[in-house]
Amino acid sequence: MRSIVIAPRNVFCISVEAENISPDRFAPLKIEEIKKLIVWQGNRQKILSDLFTVDGEDSPSKAEDMAIRLSGDFSNVKRIGEGMTSGAIEVQGSAGMHAGNHMSGGILSIAGNADDWLAREMLGGRVVVMGDAGNYVGAGYRGEKCGMRGGEIEVRGNAGAYLGEHLCGGSIRVGGNAGDFPGAANQGGTIFIGGSTYLPGAEMSKGTINVRGETKVLPSFQKMEIAQIDGTDYQKYLGDLLENGKGELFVGVAVP
């Protein structure tokens, strides 16, 4: 593995857009070339080394052999790992918006929290967030019919609203609670929410949503039998009947 460590030189008040922080972009470059990759802060175009220190092995490698470590606070750095196809990014703190968007392979791990639009339009690979994630995890872009199509997202903490909106494939697992409308317009992906949420599966036409905690269920879902999954009882619903009603929603039955 070729290891590269990136650290912010200071605290960013205005957010930074750094879609070039990706194993695919770094792989063919030497350290000095990596330092010259473009990043943006507001309307100022800069190079990576203006804002970050870059250290690590100098000789180019394949993307799959790249391990990028982001050390320090990246909560205001957007688009980390955009479109990555392989390799690994380890964010030791928190990551800004759109981390891992369009990624199709490799691993993105975030030790802190992830901001909104984590793994938007993801195609494959794996994303793990130890803390919380914001709104629109694994969702699509505005106006698109399709969000995440493949891969896995795991959020150990809580997630925001519109989790997996327009999900077309892949799986999302949230350990804690999820905000309003998870799995809206789900067309074939899988969502597991460990805690509670509100109005899951609006207009879902396919796929599965599993809510272990409490949730309000839309009136357009049909109550089915009690199902057992991994030893826990769940109330099963079919919906959304406003679509074809082929989605499955399981809601944990609280033990009194």
């Binding site: 872009y141 505005r142 106006g143 698109e144 019919k145």
Partner: protein, 568 residues
């Protein structure tokens, strides 16, 4: 300016691939001039492209943008040099439209459908489209005043209204979309044939079409009526097309041009009783055009990929939205029209789409006279206009067509005769279908040709027509015509090898037709009543003010003027 040594195609002037020099002075073509020289030795030179049917400005185009941020994020280019930012693929922003047309060698484009009430918006957008000259056709086919005049068989009042409507809209010509159907859609229904009466108005689509065609000729308008048929987009609709065309064959044109221009013929040349036995009836339609001389058409070619359908045919759009389960915008315009917008993806794996693709090509290849067929995609309904080079190369290359068809549904061969057509168009045909014919059909005497007095709108392609085999080397052709080496607009180089060098504003054409005062005097009480009772705005706030056409080019027409000069 002098353009040296190009291989010039100027069909209006009988020039087909002659090596010659061209001279420009003060924005016009002249016999002799001095100044800057451009070396075009051996290169293909044509007049600037003219697009006679595209949806480039107005409410429905902007609705397309607003409902499709997913489209706007495609094709973005940052602000750069003289260019403002570009966005969008099927629904580009105004700036991108101007730049992309210019890069492709086009210098004129007409917006195909504007209701009078919303013409102000259309002109706001047209004004923002840089470089190209433009105009907008005005919708009349579902207009209450029109239907009432037709019902009363009051042709002179109808003509007075058409003249008034064009002036109010600062419009260029008479557009008719699904006549009667738009009004029916006001209560959620549609007309089913040209003889199906329009609810509450006691007229039929056939009467509306004939009435407007007669008024159009009475007014000596430069363009004929521009017609989008009833039942467009439906299986089996070729009979409606023929029936409608037959309605008009006895009408005498007031100028040397067609009596009717059929918009996007491809969408109205279908056989079958439903989607399952859907098939091409292009040969029947082409035969009709070959044996009649009162009609012209544009292809409305469909290409695979993303499109945004937008039309004043609102019931069609509702059908599209239900069929594809896609988002749906609708916009009904009081007393005048309805319209709809639905995004679409055409797939080569879908048999229906493949047949539609074939129908457009068949039409263009089976109609013998290229002056009768314009190359369009009904942008952005069949495909965005940036894909014109794909259409041109399909028309020029049988091997390309065969290769494309090989990747499509195996049933396609049975549903269309495209595979048997050997014809390959040449540069003369293409110059006619993209330059000379659209200018003639629109009635623009200074466009589409390079004779003295014409606008100095010229395209030079980086392609040697005498060396290139357009049948075999279609990919080279496509590359060369996608980005003109030079686009000259009004005597100024606006684009060179795809780089926009300057962005002059471009003019807006509209037609001011004179009618006898007595007819206007009979008309105005009708209109005053309509504004007092039915419109939601005042008559005095209706017409488009001149402030919206800072670069207007007014063409006079009408009853009281001398016969107009013929188009070159």
């Amino acid at each position: 300016m002098i353009i040296r040594g190009g291989i010039v195609y100027d069909p209006s002037n009988g020039i087909f691939g002659e090596e010659m020099d061209l001279f420009i002075d003060r924005g016009k073509m002249v016999e002799e001039a001095r100044g800057e020289e451009i070396d075009a030795s051996g290169l293909l030179v044509m007049p600037g492209g003219v697009d006679a049917h595209a949806h480039i400005a107005g409410k429905k185009v902007n609705t397309g943008r607003i409902m499709r941020p997913d489209d706007s994020r495609l094709g973005t280019e940052p602000r750069n040099g003289v260019c403002r930012p570009s966005t969008g693929y099927t629904v580009p922003n105004c700036y991108a439209m101007g730049y992309r047309y210019a890069r492709m060698g086009y210098t004129t484009a007409f917006e195909a459908a504007t209701p009078i009430l919303e013409a102000r918006h259309t002109h706001e957008e047209l004004q923002e489209i840089p470089i190209i000259d433009k105009g907008a056709l005005t919708l009349f086919g579902n207009n209450w005043q029109v239907m009432e005049c037709v019902r009363d068989k009051d042709l002179s009042k109808l003509a007075a209204y058409v003249a008034w409507g064009l002036r109010s809209a600062r419009g260029y010509g008479v557009k008719i979309v699904n006549p009667g159907g738009g009004e029916s859609w006001g209560f959620g229904t549609n007309v089913k044939s040209v003889n199906d009466p329009v609810p509450n108005f006691d007229v039929t689509p056939a009467e509306i079409i004939r009435g407007l065609a007669q008024a159009n000729e009475l007014l000596h308008l430069p363009h004929s009526i521009h017609l989008h048929f009833n039942n467009l987009g439906k299986p089996g609709n070729y009979t409606t097309a023929i029936e409608t065309l037959d309605l008009l064959k006895d009408i005498k044109p007031s100028r040397m041009r067609q009596v009717v221009h059929v918009a996007h013929m491809q969408f109205s040349a279908y056989g079958g009783t439903g989607w399952r036995d859907f098939e091409s009836k292009a040969p029947v339609i082409a035969d009709y055009f070959n044996s009649h001389n009162h009609a012209t058409m544009d292809m409305g070619q469909l290409l695979f990929g993303s499109a945004t359908t937008m039309t004043a045919d609102a019931p069609l759009e509702y059908g599209n939205a239900r069929l594809t389960h896609n988002k749906w915008s609708n916009h009904d315009i009081e007393l005048e029209e309805s319209s709809g917008v639905v995004p679409m993806i055409y797939s080569r794996k879908m048999l229906v789409n493949a047949v539609q693709w074939a129908v457009g090509l068949e039409l263009a290849l089976l109609v013998d006279d290229p002056w009768k067929v314009l190359m369009t995609t009904d942008h952005p309904n069949g495909s965005p206009f940036v894909n014109y080079p794909e259409v041109v190369t399909l028309l020029m290359s049988k091997p390309k067509r065969d290769a494309e068809m090989a990747s499509m549904h195996e049933q396609l061969q049975k549903r269309t005769g495209l595979g048997e057509i050997q014809r390959e168009l040449d540069w003369a045909d293409i110059a006619i279908m993209t330059r000379a014919a659209p200018a003639r059909i629109l009635g623009l005497p200074d466009k589409g040709h390079l004779g003295p007095g014409a606008d100095a709108d010229i395209t030079i392609y980086n392609l040697k027509p005498e060396e290139l085999d357009t049948s075999q080397d279609h990919s080279l052709v496509k590359k060369a015509i996608s980005t003109a080496m030079y686009t000259i607009k009004g005597g100024v180089v606006v684009s060179k090898d795809g780089k926009i060098l300057c962005t002059p504003p471009g003019r807006a054409f509209w037609v001011d037709a004179a009618v006898p005062q007595a007819d206007t005097d009979r008309l105005m009480p009708d209109l005053q009543e309509k504004f007092a009772k039915y419109y939601s705005i005042q008559l005095s706030n209706y017409a488009v003010q001149d402030a919206y056409l800072p670069h207007a080019n007014v063409i006079r027409a009408g009853l009281s003027i001398e016969p107009l000069q013929e188009v070159a």
